[in-house]
Amino acid sequence: MKIKHKIIIFSFLIAPACQVFAQKPDKAMKDITGFREKLVTMSDKVNTIESDFVQEKNLSVLTSKIISSGHFCYKKDNNIRWEYLQPYQYLIIISQNKIFIKEDKNQKQYDMQSNRMFQEMNKFISGCIQGDILKNEKDYKVAYFEDDRNYFVSLVPNAEKMQQMLNEVQIWFNRTDLTVTRITMMESEGDYTRIDFMNKKLNTDIPIEKFSFK
């Protein structure tokens, strides 16, 4: 496939998302409690999530963005498979308190219990996916907004060390089914990472083997 065609395809993937996310909502959410309750209800009903994703990395030092794409799977409880497919292969599996990372021919397994950094990473990822992160007022200052299509939540880390890494985390929820449609991680100097989720499927049968390390 010609490079030009790849870029066009990427644009079509991102364009629908851009139409939905034209601007960050600035209208304060009227019913925060209602939203959080709906999120809990949704979370209880959803056992699996499958989705494609496109990741856009913006570095202020560059004039152009860095794009990658892949596939994401989630299965209760706390089984996560995050796989980059283009332009390179990189796989993270989180399951049963262990993290497995595979890149090219290298693969390594870590025990989350003995690694604080991975515990935090798992807490963050699964918190974003399940919405639990919104309850974490100890670690984040949370603000809620909405527009016609989306709910939008802004999380600002409280800890100074975390702030050095991430200024703000923005999570967009589809207003209809309350699934996460976008996560943006804002860093210093205008750098950010934006992940858009598309082609989502809920409660499909995902075999547990997808989250094994073999």
Binding site: I66, N106, S188
Partner: protein, 220 residues
């Protein structure tokens, strides 16, 4: 008695050579006084282009992987940013030809003065940053091309060029006695750098960089 004194004096030298240290004294380089060919030019010297590399850093038992962005800036300086595949920054450094490296950001787990200094040194070699002054031009037996020796902060940096090429294929840094680090650069001057391998002689630290073709990855 004199014989015992000499033995004691030679003992440390014997130990030094036998302990596995990579020795820089006998490097087999010879002066090339009438050299009139190319002088070293950085692979990254450019007005606007930037380079992306799939990068792996192995430090002792730790392994870091991600993308390294190298961007030339005005005034012959460079910005080098290393990010994880997930997009989080690991470090962000700015290199200047005439002053110390500026640290914009580094992940807490890597925030050690000695490590920052070592990484900055290694990347400087890759960029040929800070190698100013008049180098000594040398050659090596059975090796075509020229070798340029720059002295910088008490170390010697040997930049190897192939015949008719200005971009280096090999850079070695030594102290007075021992080899410190070597950089192998693979690529063609017309099409750019493909990959880089940086390896320390006396430290468990290596960096492997593999160029990502720009068009397949970056959207304007």
């Amino acid at each position: 008695m004199a014989g015992r004194v000499y033995t004691f004096a030679l003992l440390p030298l014997l130990l030094f050579f036998s302990n596995g240290c990579s020795v820089a004294i006998f490097n087999d380089y010879h002066r090339l006084p009438d050299y009139k060919g190319n002088t070293p030019v950085s692979w990254f010297q450019s007005d606007t282009a930037h380079s992306l590399f799939n990068t792996k850093i192995d430090l002792m038992k730790n392994h870091f992987s991600g993308l390294m962005v190298i961007k030339p800036l005005a005034g012959a300086s460079y910005r080098v940013v290393f990010i994880t595949e997930v997009g989080l920054k690991i470090f962000d450094l700015e290199f200047f030809p005439d002053r110390e490296v500026k640290l914009h950001y580094i992940m807490d787990v890597m925030n050690r003065k000695a490590l920052i200094k070592t990484l900055s040194n290694d990347i400087s070699l890759l960029l040929l940053n800070g190698l100013t002054g008049q180098p000594k031009v040398m050659s090596k037996k059975n090796s075509p091309g020229a070798i340029f020796r720059y002295r910088y902060k008490g170390k010697k940096n040997y930049v190897h060029l192939k015949e008719k090429h200005a971009m280096p294929f090999y850079v070695k840094q030594t102290s007075c006695l021992s080899n410190k680090v070597r950089v192998n650069l693979y690529g063609k001057p017309g099409s750019g750098l493909d990959s880089v391998k940086i390896k320390h002689y006396n430290l468990r630290l290596s960096l492997d960089l593999y160029r990502i073709k720009e068009n397949q990855y970056v959207v304007e």
